[in-house]
């Protein structure tokens, strides 16, 4: 029963996530943290960090991780299957049609409306996580430094996370 619920939850997440891994984070937050309470906000932040630092699509990584945390190995299997099923159905049902019509004005118009919302939701996720995570000067400093380094030096996410973690360990030893 739990596994079926995990599958269905990730099916919904897969069906409504646009724009890759980051587009999935608002939906995951809503479903796993707020709706089901399967993972805490802290655990979700852990998952995003680990998923970003390991190879492969972030969305698969998060689904596997969250599924495991919620329902063990079987949970990770059904979560990953769930997040992939909508894509598989869409692609198999209409691959020829989609390849011909993805430039259709109707499809483009709908996508043009969806994309800014996805961006807003990603920004909103940033705010939600910030409220939980940026609780002292050091954390705020790391956040600002990581943001500037991403923007001005195109610092790779893995390097940024590694550097942040390293500073975390340093401050633990020194302070």
């Amino acid at each position: 029963m739990l596994h079926w619920e995990i599958y269905w939850t990730f099916f919904k997440i897969g069906a409504f996530s646009f724009g890759g891994g980051y587009g999935m984070i608002p939906l995951i937050t809503q479903e796993l943290v707020y709706h089901h309470g399967w993972v805490t906000m802290e655990q979700l932040v852990d998952m995003i960090a680990v998923s970003q630092m390991t190879p492969g699509p972030i969305a698969i990584n998060i689904a596997t991780f969250a599924g495991y945390q919620t329902g063990g190995t079987m949970g990770s299997v059904v979560a990953t299957l769930g997040v992939v099923t909508p894509s598989a159905l869409i692609v198999i049902a209409g691959v020829a049609y989609f390849l011909k019509h993805h430039k259709h004005p109707l499809v483009q118009a709908v996508l043009k409306g969806i994309r800014p919302v996805v961006i807003a939701l990603i920004a909103y996720s940033g705010v939600t996580v910030a409220q939980r995570v940026l609780d002292d000067m050091l954390a705020t400093g790391i956040f600002v430094a990581a943001l500037l380094a991403s923007h001005y030096y195109k610092l790779h996410p893995i390097a940024a996370l590694g550097a942040g973690g390293f500073i975390g360990i340093l401050s633990y030893i020194l302070l």
């Binding site: 992939v84 198999i92 409306g113 975390g168």
Partner: protein, 160 residues
Amino acid sequence: MIPLIEREVVTNKGWVEEDDFLDIIAVAQSAPGIIAINSALVIGYKVAGIPGAFMGALGAALPSFVIILLIARFFLVFRSLEAVEAFMAGAAPVVVALLVYASYSMGKKAVQDWKGLLLGLTAFVLALLFKLNPIILIVLGGLTGFIAYYPRKREGEKQD
């Protein structure tokens, strides 16, 4: 990941033509779900039908799945160690930065005019104030896009 896919399926295997590949990526990015999985599904389907699509998706998902499963098992055991605790405390603010930066860099492409900007800001405020379900906001965004961008009056013309 896209350059890697391109080298394998266009250059090395010759499964799809360069022009088709661009279309496939465009579809994979527009359709909901995971871009890498979507690409694998479409390319697999083109090469070998439904079994090809399944095998493609399986191949694209399996390495991540196995790696994360291993990490998740150990991570949950080691998470309470103080060194891991300290590392994650330092990495968490970076996650915030990555989310903020992703919305900025993706937003530069996704928001193309004042209508898009207004739509994005409205969605942000609605999410912030009312904690509306993201799925509802996405559906409303699609509807708004249809109303704001679909050229109904010019049926004779070809729009690109």
